[in-house]
Structure formats: C-alpha cells, structure tokens
C-alpha cells in the first residue's frame, strides 16, 4: 500500500471491500421479527414496521437478494449484532464499519439490548482510526460523542431519516464502486450519490 501523509484521514484513503463490515442489529427473519414484536423493550419491530409482510418485502427480500453480491466482493456481513460483540467489529483489518441499527430515545437498539451513546463510544478502541458509518436515523448525539472521545475515528451519518431499502441499494453500488475504481470512501460516496441523484 502506498504511504500517505499522516494528516490525511482514513476517509480519504482507498479502502478495499474486504476491509468493510456491514453489521445488522435488526431482525432478519420472520421468527426474529415476531420475537422482537413480543418484547416490550424492542422498539424497531414494534413501532417502526407496520407488518411482517411489508418488512419482508422491503428489507428481508432486498437484503437476501443483495447479500451474495456483498459477500462476493469480500464484505463481511454480520447478522444479529449484539452489544457485547460490537467491540470485535473495530479490528485493525476493519477500515469501514457500517452499522445498520435503530435509534430510539438517544440509544442504539442492538439485537439483544439498547446501548447508550457513551456506552457505544466506550466500546470503540481508543486508537481505532477507521470509519464508522452510522446507518441509524439522525444519530447526531452519538456521532458527537464518538467524535469527541475517539478523534482518530471518522464518523459518517445522515441528517435525515434513513429508508432501509434505499440504503441497502446504495451500499450495493458503493461497494461495487470501491471494488472497481479503488476509490476512497469519500470519493466513492460522492460518486455514488451523484449517480443516484442523476437517476431521480
């Protein structure tokens, strides 16, 4: 790998798809979905999704269609990410971590439990200098805490509500762009965003 000046942040360096992780904390099967609906502490399945049939069509089917493609590119896919397993995502090999999770009352809903912003930030190793892409709806407080406590780490998030089916398609093109063009995440993000906007 080429040597880059130290002031260049990771988001500006090329990333390989096998250095990317796509982690899901949300239910991805009918059994998991109904398990979450029954649990009062779970918010996403109970309050964000009207029905299993809609969720299956918009999320589960789209993911099962795209997942083999992600894997072919070498992207590591994690299903049912639990709060205790979050730490294992921030390894030296992982340069780009995408977290697909639900945001509720200033907490992130993991597969097993909710995690507050400070708890989340404390799990990230202090020397971690990769990129964390929060595909979580409007997680500004979390992003701010991570920025303050882990200055080497780059945080990416959306200011608007994230439609899951859109982002799954977006990341599909994003990974292909990184893989094909050997771009940095910033360049790839810009390029894919332009492509999506052109299609509107």
């Amino acid at each position: 790998m080429a040597n880059y000046p130290s002031h260049i942040r990771n988001a500006e360096l090329p990333v390989k798809t096998d250095q990317c992780i796509l982690a899901f904390t949300i239910p991805l099967s009918q059994r998991e979905f109904f398990d979450h609906v029954k649990k009062p502490e779970k918010d996403f399945a109970r309050n964000c999704c009207s029905s299993w049939s809609k969720y299956r069509k918009e999320v589960v089917e789209v993911l099962s269609e795209l997942e083999p493609g992600y894997k072919r590119l070498g992207v590591q896919i994690i299903h049912r990410l639990k709060a205790n397993d979050l730490n294992s995502c921030f390894t030296q090999k992982c340069r780009y971590m995408i977290l697909i999770a639900h945001w509720y009352c200033n907490e992130v809903e993991f597969y097993d439990q909710m995690l507050s912003c400070t708890e989340f930030a404390s799990v990230i190793p202090e020397d971690y200098d990769g990129i964390i892409d929060l595909c979580v709806c409007t997680p500004e407080p979390l992003a701010q805490i991570i920025k303050d406590s882990r200055p080497d780490c780059t945080i990416r998030y959306s200011h608007t509500r994230a439609s899951l089916s859109f982002w799954l398609q977006f990341y599909n093109v994003f990974f292909h762009t990184i893989h094909k063009d050997e771009l940095s995440p910033n360049e790839a993000f810009e390029k894919v965003t332009k492509e999506f906007l052109n299609q509107l």
Partner: protein
C-alpha cells in the same frame, strides 16, 4: 375503483405507505380512518353486486339471442356455425369478466367480515399482508 386502489389509498391516508425508516415510529391509525375504509369497501361492494347482475343478465341475453338465431337460421348450417362460434367467444369473454368481479367480491366480503371486528392497527397488518403476499400454495410449518 379497484380494491387494491382502495387499500392503497387507505395506507396513504394513514401515512403507512412510506418506506421503513430506521428511526421514528409509524403514524397511529384511528377508528375514523378504519370506518372510512369500511364505508368505501361497502360502496364498492354494492357497485360490484350491480356489476355481477348486469354481467349475468348479459350472459342470459346472449344465450337467448344465440338460441333464437339457431332456430331462425336452422336451414343454414354455415350461419349456425358462425352463431355458435360467436356466442361461444362472447360467453367466454363474459365468463372472464364475471370471474374477475367475483374474485373482487370475495376479497371485499372477506375484508368486510374481518375489518369491523379488529383494531385499526390490525387493519393495517391485514391490508399490507393482502397487498404484499400471495396465497400459500404449499404447506407451511
């Protein structure tokens, strides 16, 4: 109006037609919205009933006309062949239309039986399931 259009309109009206987001929560559905849907379905069902009567009447008329022409042209086998062929094709078309209306009526009757007896929130589940799923063709566990 098609049954799918009525159901989609209900989801739009209740703001449930949007994609699933990773935050916030879905809008609440109230009994007024549910009752509006029931009234729309009743109105459409009555229209369908009239449509079934009209199509059945057309069926009978076509059959009667075919019999009349058969007797009228009984000495002309070629004309009788044309009459038989024409009435067969006409009846097939009417049967197809009748089948479509009947299917819609069955769905509406089912919805009109279920919807008044469940909560507004459950109505959304039933409608989304009806719009997104197809009937099971194999046994499920």
């Amino acid at each position: 109006m098609k049954i799918e259009a009525i159901l989609t309109e209900f989801l739009e009206h209740t703001q449930r037609s949007k994609n699933i987001d990773m935050g916030g929560s879905v809008a609440a559905v109230n009994d007024d919205q549910k009752n509006l849907l029931v009234n729309n379905l009743i109105r459409e069902n009555q229209f369908n009933k009239s449509l079934i009567v009209v199509i059945t009447a057309m069926f009978v008329v076509l059959f009667g006309v075919a019999i009349f022409f058969c007797f009228y042209y009984r000495n002309s086998p070629q004309t009788m062949g044309i009459i038989f062929g024409g009435s067969f094709l006409g009846i097939m078309g009417i049967m197809k239309a009748l089948q479509g209306v009947w299917e819609k009526k069955c769905k509406m009757d089912m919805l009109l039986t279920i919807i008044p007896n469940i909560s507004a929130e459950q109505v959304v589940v039933v409608i989304e399931t009806l719009l997104n799923e197809k009937p099971a063709t194999a046994s499920v566990n």
